[in-house]
Symmetry: C3
Subunit: 351 residues, 3 copies
């Protein structure tokens, strides 16, 4: 399949620089683009990477000038390029619509309009599904769950009983929402499981990554606030209240009963101790180990996590420590020499 540069320009509603009859046969990122490909550069710095590339054309943001290559200026480079990729690799829907007869749906479940349910889905009693919900194969939705409109849940994810998922959410494969909190009374020599009366509430516009786990509250809800996005293999423990528009990167682990403000960002593999509060707009660096509350609008890094600037100083000092240690030993020796010379010398008072 091929298209002309002019056709692509019209598709993305851009401005064409170069021969509109140029034939474009594929779309790929700069790293992989070969001759005949259109590629993208979303900022000026990226243009350098084009020099070693065989790409035949490039999509750029408005105002960016590309001297030696056919280009299309657009408002939103990524949106435009996604359309072009879709031109060469059209994605059809899974060829399934409606409700598979190979799904197991309890008769008491309430199902909205235009819902897609794949084979091998299980839906328990008193479940409510909003309109346009899609459940991929092997999803398990236990008793009393509710799922809002336009939410998609990918294969083999599990919602324990009474889980509430809002509208416009995406829950990726093999996620587990609503399993038991890890709370035990160990006073009698063995570990007795605490109450598991709570549930999980996932608000609107939340994404949950593949393999991520969110445990139910002890008595009330564990909450993932509106618009927050959780990457793969994130762990949110019982009773946590994650604020709105948080970004939790892969393998973050948050212990029980923590709260976060809004627009908190946690980089990969961050760990947070239990019962802590993370202020709004705070950023936690990769692998940070948080052992105390973190105030708003700060950057904390390190184990234990401290303000970024402090950590940089520590690390710089630590890097020079082996050398400092050597200098220190020389200094000790020199001082000892001074001391012994002062002692061996006739004392001034005797002079």
């Amino acid at each position: 399949m091929s298209f002309t540069l002019g056709e692509i320009t019209r598709l993305v509603r851009g401005t064409c620089h170069g021969d509109p009859s140029l034939i474009i046969e594929n779309a790929d990122i700069i790293r992989d683009a070969s001759s005949g490909c259109i590629t993208l550069a979303d900022k000026a710095e990226i243009l350098n990477h084009l020099q070693g590339s065989e790409a035949s054309a490039v999509i750029v943001p408005e105002g960016l000038d590309v001297p030696d290559l056919a280009s299309i200026e657009v408002k939103d480079v990524h949106q435009a390029f996604a359309r072009v990729v879709d031109l060469f690799y059209p994605r059809e829907s899974e060829g399934v619509s409606g409700i598979s007869t190979a799904a197991q749906i309890h008769p008491s479940a309430q199902i909205g309009d235009d819902v897609t349910i794949f084979p091998n889905v299980y839906i328990g009693p008193n479940v409510t599904l909003g309109n346009q919900v899609t459940l991929y194969p092997g999803v398990s939705v236990m008793e009393g769950c509710s799922i809002g409109a336009n939410t998609t849940i990918y294969s083999n994810s599990v919602l324990y009983e009474l889980t509430e998922v809002g509208s416009n959410c995406i829950i990726h494969a093999n996620a587990t929402i609503g399993a038991f909190g890890f709370g035990y009374d160990s006073s009698r020599g063995h570990h007795v499981l605490s109450a598991q009366c709570g549930f999980v509430r996932v608000e609107d516009h939340v994404d949950v990554g593949a393999g991520t786990t969110i445990d139910r509250g002890t008595y009330g809800p564990t909450v993932i606030g509106e618009g927050s996005k959780l990457d793969n293999q994130v762990m949110v423990a019982h009773n946590c209240r994650i604020g709105k528009h948080n970004l939790l990167c892969s393998q973050v682990g948050i212990a029980g009963s923590c709260t976060t403000g809004d627009y908190v960002v946690m980089a990969g593999q961050v760990g947070i101790g239990d019962h802590l509060n993370i202020g709004s707009k705070t950023m936690l660096g990769a692998k940070a180990g948080v052992m105390a509350d973190v105030p708003e609008e700060t950057i904390f890094v390190g184990i234990p996590a401290t303000p970024h600037r402090e950590q940089m100083q520590k690390q710089a000092a630590l890097a020079k420590l082996p050398e400092m240690r050597k200098e220190f030993k020389r200094l000790q020796k020199e001082l000892n020499d001074v001391l012994s010379r002062m002692q061996s010398a006739p004392q001034n008072e005797a002079a």
Copy 2:
């Protein structure tokens, strides 16, 4: 639905302080309790939190005096409050009992009494299920596994062939037990998988968290000892022998052939190198990186993990290192001044 304080007192077999005809309309934790709610305070320190709360009554442990609020004294606060929560949010069973016709069960499987098997469960040849076992949708139990009485396995968990699970266990959703150990012979330029002849043995009263993985032994078993509890996303590698009554928090990773004693506690994101022994009653702090054996009844933290006290001293010294570095440079300069003054001065022996 509503109940009187007196009714609730009788339910939890407590002692009522306040008007027994007081109407209680809901149960919630202090953070969320509104007017009409009963809440709980499991120790004296928590009573302060009640001051900003609108809660109408509180359940407290025997002997705890609550001056300005209706209260019920009980022996076990959490047990009592769980009952009250259940009063307002009764949980019915999933409405399923017996063995679903939509489960796939090999005819050679031996199934105990009062077993519940949900749709889309797979049970392979020669599997044995004890009495009162519950298998939720999508559970996969391969050939030759055995599962003891009263054990519950949640949706989409997988037991590879020959896995042994004891009685009274809980295995949460998307757990994987018995996958191949990560052992390769790399001597020929590519990685050749080692023998995978072993299996996993999970003893009685063990809990396994959602998304947790336990690999099979090379030739014999990987063992999770009686009463041990594993949180979500824990990794136990091949040939490990986890002792009894361990608590392994979320995202702990234990490399191959480790052993642990009894009552070991590992906080979140701990990592343990291969072939190491962790002594009984030892506690490993969050994110600890263990690179050598750890003796009994100790607390180890840090990367590499060392005794807690040692680590605290290191951290304290490190925190002061940037300042010490500045002082050190001043000291160097002062000593140089001393040295140059001593050299430029007429020597005493010449006096």
Copy 3:
């Protein structure tokens, strides 16, 4: 069941030292071997462990002399012992062959010869399966995926649309391949998901561990190179290009758009920041936090990761820091004494 030492010797094509009529009743590793057992020792150092053992015989590599115990010398100890274990614990195939009628297979799927498909598998439109592919229960293969010959996918793993898996791969249970990359445009106060036009390509002879997640590329592929092995709960983010014959241990997390060379080894819980390159034959120590490119054939450890030697020096210096701090304070005092004595003393120039 029992066999003679002679029978076992013939099975493993080894050389027998000891009475060939000796009865062997079981096979187990040294730690667990009781009387009547045959065990293995794959190198000389291991022979010490035999002293406390009740094992009746041992399999050893050619040239290794065992003074006081019956032994069989063989070329490949592990291969031989695996055969012996199989003798005592024969593994039958799952008793399933062919394509289960309880699998859901789209009519447009192309299925090779001798394929085994268990119940509750879902195969979407236009999927291609090579010869001898095995799909265990609950596997979900979405539209347009291709799976090469001799590849096995264990229960409840999920392949999103257009995933390409090569031949001779093993994908363990609950793995997720092809979920959305964690990329958002956050410029408008909420997080807008980036393009998800790409896919995942897993080359030949790759193993993927249980619960591991590999996200699709933004526009093109995320690649796992030929012969690479990923342990359980590994995370490979969007656009990564993992080279050939890498070993990624459990709970490793690699952020978006990283590349690795060939024969890279990452120990457990390593984390790598986005857009970084890891050179061929490089080794990253457990829990390393990589924040910059790493050159070829190096060993990096620590957070932030630095060359191994450098890290050892830092750690050694850090371990002595509390003591050095005390010495430093004493030095300060001594120097102050010197300074005050020099000041209080009659100046030499006055002598």
